[in-house]
């Protein structure tokens, strides 16, 4: 394979075959921090950090980093010893690495040296310390009696400071997690999250599957982002196997992804109304969302579009008459959303609650690595559909929505803008749909191939990094949700706000638990 020189860094890399621009390089422990300092200085963000067990391939362990450079995704691999695998922590350079490093230790026993935060993250009581479920020698069915689960939350001391523990079972219909608030009066002084209650062994399950079987699981990493994950997974498998999906399938995938974005924003905008006592908004937006879901169910056989994107293409075509029904429905929804937006914009009560609530300023967003629409609402101008415009977005052209105030109102505004843009995109994509097949047969895969799937889901960038084993099986599939980056910023966004505004701020981000817990 030809060598590729990443212009931003003095580094020799190999291209990773696939739809998105990606390069791979091996680095030594001594170079890791220096490289990260360089990429940080160039404003390259850390997309993901994970580990792998290489003992079945004659090695020890490995640490992996995915960094978003101007020219594409840089996948760095740091080989580690079989005994006491360890590497220098990079959490001081990229703060979002902290939880990922802790998760990597809990799952693989790979130790981040010199990190001040060595607390567990994924491990609660399901398995004892010193046992590492993602190691190859660990059988997936092993179960242990519940172990002790002490977790040292950071204590805030001072006069009049109270703690409010919330969850894991929440008051509303949301996923489980634990929030520890330290408050004075009604004001939030500190919020500390504890997640991973929904850890269900997804990455271990992948390693017991074939490349084809993994698609269904990828679509269930986070149910509200099923298209984004299924596409990222398909992209990674296609890269690893050298399969070229037909261009009609690419157009259809983008239509599905934009529909997923529209449906999620419709639902959340309804809830954001509900959270400021405007239940009118909830009923109106959920009526529109249901109108869309019903048609999706009719056209694609699944209201949330699960299992539509498959390695090699898509499961169902969208014939012309059906596409027209879809466009007509979207047009009706759009005209109603325009009316609802005017009502939200003019509603003094709603705006009073939205404006300057849950603010994340651009500087903090940049430092901590906020991503997705929440990042764009805090001045972080990144969107994979714009930064690396591969087909079909290259043809359709995406107009990025941004804001700088970083409060609930900004996130509401960006959500409206992105929804309108998605409606425009569906129209354009539908008119540009190429004729022909919707699915290509999946080529066989040789062991040791890698693939990258990188997709701008409605919440932010979703990454699948994949390596194949023999017999078309999966050696390692890492799924990364943008919520990893954004959860720590929710802790910051609530500071100085009052406790009753927490549900509103939380909903304005609407982060995934299942996607980060895996």
């Amino acid at each position: 394979m030809e060598e590729h020189r990443v212009t931003e860094l003095a580094l020799h890399t190999q291209p990773v075959a696939g739809a998105m621009p990606a390069f791979r390089a091996t680095v030594g422990a001594a170079e890791l921090r220096g490289l990260c300092e360089q990429t940080r200085a160039q404003k390259a963000r850390l997309v993901a950090l994970w580990g792998s067990d290489e003992t079945t391939r004659g090695g020890g362990y490995a640490l992996h980093l995915a960094l978003a450079l101007g020219s594409g995704l840089l996948w760095l691999t740091l080989p580690l010893a079989r005994e006491h695998p360890r590497y220098p922590s990079i959490a001081d350079i990229y703060p979002c690495a902290n939880r990922m490093q802790r998760a990597t230790y809990d799952l693989l026993g790979i130790h981040a040296q010199d990190s001040p935060d060595q607390r567990k993250w994924v491990r609660h009581r399901a398995w004892p310390g010193g046992v590492f479920p993602l190691r190859k020698a660990f059988p997936i069915g092993t179960s242990f009696p519940p172990s002790d689960d002490r977790y040292p939350f950071v204590k805030v001391e001072g006069e009049g400071v109270h703690e409010i523990p919330v969850g894991p079972v929440h008051a509303g219909t949301i996923e489980p997690g634990h929030f520890r608030f330290s408050i004075v009066g009604e004001k939030i002084l500190r919020l500390e999250e504890r997640l991973c209650y929904t850890h269900k062994g997804i990455e271990k399950l992948f390693e017991n599957m074939t490349l084809a079987e993994g698609a269904r699981l990828a679509g269930r990493v986070s149910g509200d982002s099923t298209v984004a994950y299924a596409w990222a997974y398909a992209m990674a498998v296609e890269g690893a196997t050298g399969t070229e999906p037909p261009s009609r399938a690419l157009g259809l995938r983008a239509i599905l992804l934009e529909l997923e974005r529209i449906a999620n924003h419709l639902g959340d905008l309804g809830y954001l109304g509900n959270d400021v006592a405007l239940s009118f908004g909830f009923f109106q937006f959920w009526r529109l969302k249901e109108d869309l879901l019903r048609l999706q169910g009719e056209l694609f056989g699944h209201r949330y579009l699960m299992d539509q994107v498959v390695p090699g293409g898509v499961a169902r075509d969208l014939p012309r008459d059906q596409a027209e029904r879809l466009l007509a429905r979207l047009e009706q929804i759009q005209s109603e959303v325009v009316a609802l937006k005017a009502i939200y914009d003019d509603h003094a009560g709603a705006q009073d609650r939205f404006v300057m609530t849950g603010q994340v300023l651009p500087e903090l967003a940049e430092k901590m690595g906020l991503v997705g629409f929440a990042g764009r609402a805090s001045g972080i101008k990144h969107d994979l559909r714009v930064d690396y415009p591969v087909l079909p977005y290259q043809q359709a052209g995406v107009r990025m929505a941004t804001h700088t105030r970083g409060d609930v109102a900004a996130r509401v505004s960006v959500r409206f803008d992105e929804m309108f843009e998605s409606m425009r995109l569906v129209r354009t994509l539908a008119s540009q749909l190429a004729p022909g097949a919707i699915r290509a047969p999946l080529a066989d895969c040789i062991p040791g191939k890698c693939g990258v799937g990188w997709v701008e889901g409605w919440r932010g960038e979703v990454l699948i990094a994949l390596e194949s084993a023999d017999a078309n099986r999966i050696h390692r599939a890492h799924a990364h949700d943008p919520s990893w980056q954004n959860w720590p910023l929710l802790e910051r966004a609530v500071l100085g706000n009052i406790v009753p505004d927490f549900p509103l701020i939380n909903k304005s981000f609407n982060l995934s638990y299942s996607g980060q817990d895996l």
Partner: protein, 174 residues
């Protein structure tokens, strides 16, 4: 304000008739007598517990509260605490990290109580099955009255499951 009222008037009432109970969803015989069921039917309080789902099933629970299905008009509403609940609606395979919280929620729910397990995951463990991280189906952890398959089940199927849990199932227990 004028625009808001106009939108309400223009929309009108969109709620649709609810589905009928479906006995095939029932896991164990109805344990509750007519009298209790009559009361439940008029004011049922539900506590949702996500025991490890992918969040797909939650999306449809939200839909059920939307205007087309409008669960609340049947006297069925979601409450914030298990202590106020008559019925637990449980999604997901039960992750081992949620097992204790689910058991505690069940214990905190006053008797008589009903449990409806939701989704392929709630019914069988689904794609996640049983593993070091997942205890599988809900009935592996707490007793289940009614189980609703689907990935995720539609709002109509969910309503059917809930209505089945509070119907007598043809058994005269008055």
């Amino acid at each position: 304000m004028y625009r808001l009222l106009k939108q309400i008037a223009k929309t009108g009432i969109v709620s649709e008739p609810p589905p009928h109970p479906d006995e095939t969803l029932r896991q164990i015989d109805q344990q509750l007598g007519e009298v209790i069921l009559r009361h439940f039917g008029r004011a049922l309080a539900i506590r949702h517990v996500d025991a490890g789902s992918c969040n797909g099933c939650e999306l449809e629970i939200h839909s059920m509260n939307g205007p087309y299905y409008n669960l609340e008009r049947l006297g069925i509403k979601f409450v914030a605490s298990p202590r106020h609940a008559d019925l637990l609606l449980v999604t997901g395979p039960v992750s081992r990290n949620m097992e204790l919280a689910l058991k505690r929620t069940y214990a905190a729910t006053p008797d008589p109580k009903l449990v409806v397990a939701i989704g392929d995951c709630g019914c069988t463990g689904g794609i996640f099955g049983e593993s070091y991280a997942s205890s599988g189906r809900v009935s592996n952890v707490i007793p289940v009255d009614v189980a609703v398959p689907g990935c995720p089940p539609t709002p109509i199927a969910l309503m059917q499951g809930i209505l089945t849990a509070i119907s007598s199932g043809g058994r005269d227990r008055a």
